[in-house]
Subunit: 333 residues, 2 copies
DNA sequence: GTGAAAGCGCTAACAT
DNA sequence: ATGTTAGCGCTTTCAC
């Protein structure tokens, strides 16, 4: 079926297939002479190894299954990108799928993921259906949960505490002298992490003794939704002087709406976003925001996967890595 | 190695493994009675099929290899998302990788892609290394090139003509009475499609007899780069009254910079972007832009792959689908 | 360091 | 409609 196979290479190089296999996986375990012959044969025949056959024989494929809520979300895109770059060096490939924030969907995708006998499965968040947990528990595949910390984890987890993000935002606004806060959140009924940031914000504000309001919108985060939520917030609580948003898209919309309503930021209203998306530094005024470590999450997850492949087990069976976040104080607050 | 296999299911259901296999692939080809027994056995044993073994036996896996320049790019993210959603229904999965706009990298990724014996390979653009073309030509795997039309294609292509985008932008600005145009382009030495848009813009402007300047920047598109390019453009050509940008991030930066410099858009300067990214409708003023059909590209690519899997060959061996684009006239022009 | 042999779990003729 | 059979291309003991 396949034009040129490992046997062809072996024949041409004058060695056995198993030597070629060994050479491909651990070149240093093969004599230099044999290695050179094999390399020449591969080159001459233009041999492309078959990962599928390899995966079947080894009972573990070169795939890493990654399941995120949405590929279009810049946060996850960054993590996926970093993960891929790091895995690529070890010739592991990412099988990507998205749940659209649906746990039932996730369960089905996990089942499909297991069908690939992947080297690892990467899931977003710590909240999964019972079925998902059961499947994963009864499988030997390492599981890494990303982008959240602070609840029970299946295996390894790499992320940060979203309630701490909310807390940091509230502390920051209060430190800037604001006494009437609001949190504008998009799609918080589905996006558990946005909800956690909101909860952390409200709790911290209450501890500091300032007033705090929450405005939500069911639609996904966007500038338009941000503009709408600002209007609603000001209508209900005209004295608001500090706003945190569930992410930078929302904050951008608030910024635009303020401009149209001639509300001066930050004098009249201090604003803080979340995400440090591309436009934040270039806005008028530049947007104060909290930068999550999306890139680092990807790199650390890859490191865990590679360590595990090399046989290093995770200490105590469970491991969690806190990648933290950074508050970037710009001119909107 | 695997806890429960197809044979286990067959034994429990009282049929042969091949019947189970058949049931899994074409349920309607199996008697209702047998089907019920098999379904019950699968349920009871919690059977998870092994795609790797299946792929080896069938000499074609349930993977579709997708290679894009960057996962973080919202355009490709949209296409990948749509592609995934559509393929998912047929239980095909996307193996994603990114080239970072490097053709050598792409060649290596195509080699790895072939290692999976994928149902299809999806590549971005029509420009590839000789090695890439050679490998793909000598393989039976269907190839779909996306996001570009107008040059020689390997197999199928789904996308649009970027020079037509540039042309549409120029025509629009001229129709708005602008006579001194400029194109601001980011990373055009690598992003061939941005270059094509630029070329189309310049050619159309010249045909209309208006002046046209080009400002480039090597960095990836961002609002900051947009602000910088605007400054440079106005310094070199103070009389510019219409600007097209290689994408909306750049246009957003221009908008911010105009605001700071008290340049009124669109009265003093008409602006058009590309991409219809999330923020364009919410900006001040809302940004005129050109919406590419990123989503449609993904859906059409999926359709071709699915058709091909069902045995429908593409007419004449080659097929190209023009997904077009739409100019959205808002208030920035 | 290298080779022989035995599968990995499934699909796809083919026969019934 | 169902079962029998023969691999798919590789990895991995286990000898040597």
């Amino acid at each position: 079926m396949q034009s040129v196979t490992m046997s062809d290479v072996a024949a041409k190089a004058g060695v056995s297939p198993s030597t070629v296999s060994l050479y491909l996986r651990r070149p240093q375990s093969v004599s230099v002479a044999a290695g050179r012959m094999i390399a020449a044969a591969i080159e001459a025949l233009n041999y492309v190894p078959n990962f599928v056959a390899g995966g079947l024989a080894a009972a573990s494929s070169r795939a890493v299954s990654v399941i995120v809520p949405s590929v279009r979300n810049a946060f996850f895109a960054e993590t996926v990108s970093a993960l891929q770059s790091a895995l690529r060096r070890e010739r592991l490939q990412v099988i990507l799928s998205h749940t659209e924030y649906d746990e039932r969907e996730e369960e089905d995708l996990v089942r499909m993921a297991l069908s690939w006998a992947p080297a690892a499965i990467v899931l977003t968040g710590l909240s999964h259906s019972v079925g998902t947990r059961r499947m994963l528990a009864s499988s030997p595949v390492p599981v890494i949960e990303i982008w959240e910390l602070g609840a029970e984890q299946i295996d390894a987890a790499v992320g940060f505490h979203h309630d701490q993000v909310g807390e940091a935002a509230a502390d920051h606004l209060v430190a800037q002298g604001r006494r009437h806060l609001a949190f504008l959140g998009a799609r918080m009924h589905e996006d558990r992490r946005a909800r956690l940031r909101c909860d952390g914000f409200v709790a911290a504000a209450q501890r500091k003794g300032v007033t705090v309001a929450v405005v939500e919108h069911a639609a996904p985060a966007s500038a338009e939704v941000g503009s709408m939520m600002l209007a609603q917030a000001l209508q209900q609580h005209p004295d608001i002087d500090g706003i945190a948003c569930s992410n930078d898209h929302v904050a951008l919309g608030v910024l635009f709406a303020c401009e149209r309503a001639r509300i001066v930021v930050p004098e009249k209203l201090a604003l803080i976003g979340f995400g440090d998306l591309g436009f934040t530094a270039a806005c008028n005024p530049p947007l104060t925001t909290i930068r999550p470590s999306g890139d680092l999450i990807g790199r650390e997850a890859a490191r865990l996967i590679l360590d595990r492949r090399l046989g290093k087990p995770w200490e105590g069976g469970r491991i969690s890595i806190d990648t933290r976040f950074t508050l970037l104080h710009r001119h909107s607050s």
